[in-house]
Amino acid sequence: MADSTLSQVVGSQAMGTGLSAEPAPDVARGRFVKALRRSPKGLAGLLLVGLVLACAAAAPILAPHDPAQQVLGWRFLPPAWATGGSWEHILGGDNLGRDIFSRILVGARTSIAVAVVVVTLAATIGSLLGAVAGYAGGIVDNIIMRLADFLLAFPFLLLALMIMAILGPGFWTMVLALSIALWVNYARVVRGEALRIEQMEFVEAARSIGVPGWRIVLGHVVPNVIPSVLVLATLEVALVIIAEAALSFLGLGVQPPTPSWGKMISEGRDFLYDAPWMVLGPGLVILMTSVGINLFGDFLRDFIDPRTER
């Protein structure tokens, strides 16, 4: 009861000073859809990404075979359109006699799972730390930002690699390593926003009434940063997917028998003479996904901030 009066006061203060949180959700969504329809970049990106997502989601149903099943007769089976291939194994078989198509579909799940978990983790940790740093200021801010600068000094993959060097290979260490390497960008964005909001009058008003800091953070900082965080997240999903593929390629990420596109390419590399299709299938899919996300991310970036001349 007291809460609702409080939020009314804070809310009306916000209106009074003419600040905008964000425009009414319906209006924003309408604008977004319209811009999307007009952008070939955005549409192409969305299409590609949608395709991959659909495959991943439908993997259990779509996959004609068990990805882990090894059948001697399927070893180095060429893809359906080549001589010796069959339509039962559209993309052929690998060196252990596993169906490549099924592995690619299930691999999609791995990649997406890793990407989603990592980005969510990084976004959450980063946003929280950023909000705290921005709002608390002082030593806390200093420490967090120094840590961020330190981590930021290194390229993403290198950092992830170094963390994995310490923690050892494996799915969860990879997730952890990637998250640690990624949170910094979110922290910066959110901190910037927190600092901006902090200076606004209604925050002072709220504080003078005794609204606790965390409520202000949650109630005002968070809604304002969501668009920027979302754009960042979308762009970084591509980064994570490629990083996961690279780490798995190196043998450091996902461990067998879980299929991963990167691992498949690594396995295929040894058999380029015998079965080049082992590499082409997963390679093409990685490319598709990455291009799709980059295109869509570009479109998103233009939409949110059309000022940047490209």
Binding site: F150, A153, F154, P155, F156, L157, L158, L161, M162, M164, A165, I166, L167, G168, P169, A238, I242, A245, A246, F249, L250, G251, L252, G262, I265, G268, R269, L272, Y273, P276, V279, L280, G283, I286, L287, S290, V291, I293, N294, L295, E309, R310
Partner: protein, 329 residues
Amino acid sequence: MLPLIIKRIGYALIIIAGIAFVVSAMTKLVPGDPVDVMAAGNPGMTEADKARLRSQLGLDRSMMDQYVSYLGNALQGDLGTSLRQRVPTAQLILERLPATAELTLWSMVLALLVAVPIGVVTALRRDSPVDTAGTVVAVLGVSTPSFLLGVLLILLFSVQLGWLPASGYKGSVIAAIPRAIVEGRFDLLWQKARYFLLPSVSLAFGLMAVNARLIRSAMIETIRQDYVQFARAKGVPPRTVVLRHALRNAIIPVITMIGLQLGNLLSGAIVAETVFAWPGIGRLSVQAITTRDYPLVQATVLITAVLFVAMNLIVDLLYHVIDPRMRHG
């Protein structure tokens, strides 16, 4: 300008000290008993070995103690001994450093050599088919992971066409240049250079795309500037206007980015070296990690980090020399 240099160097040293700390404390950070993990990766370790290892790794000492002793040893050139290969890690690293260094260098050179003309042309011919083609290449460049490109290049040029070797390293090209000039035998250079070609291209492609975009937007911005118009008003021929007036200014942001990009190259090199079986530090690090060879991991991580920080420092200082506006603070 001197206080600036000192400040930068100081900051770099702090970063390196921090990394050294993390690296030295690495064994403590590993979940579980690191010695058991190492034993699992290295069959043939006796209990005595394990005990010795434990004290060697300083697992019985505090983090601070470990740090100090590690640092002390490192400054004397002792970075531990590889478990797998039983030789000093420093030696392994030194052996492999030139290969990585040269690969990085050639990749950067290649990337810039291609990026500059593409960037300039797409800027001058905005919104033309040339520009669209450039954009497509740029998107591909940014989206294609270097390991994938490397494997595809091998598939095309080694497997299908047989033109270039799929892996291996036959020595430094730079070191071979003097002899080639003296003896007039450039086929000697090619012997070595052909091994560099595919790995460099796989690394350079992404970098090239990024730089081409960078140069394009910098050029577009620069061309709009009054001083470019003024140069035209003076009757300076267009090619000179582009090169001397526009590009000279447009290249400044690119040079700022080079430090960042060298770092990306380094991390890309780790992957490329694995694809092409290149005997460099990158491949060494990966091997170290997979075999849980902790001393080697510590050493490679530290050295990679130091290299990285040093590179950035040099480029940073170089930037101050190139832009006259920066020279005066």
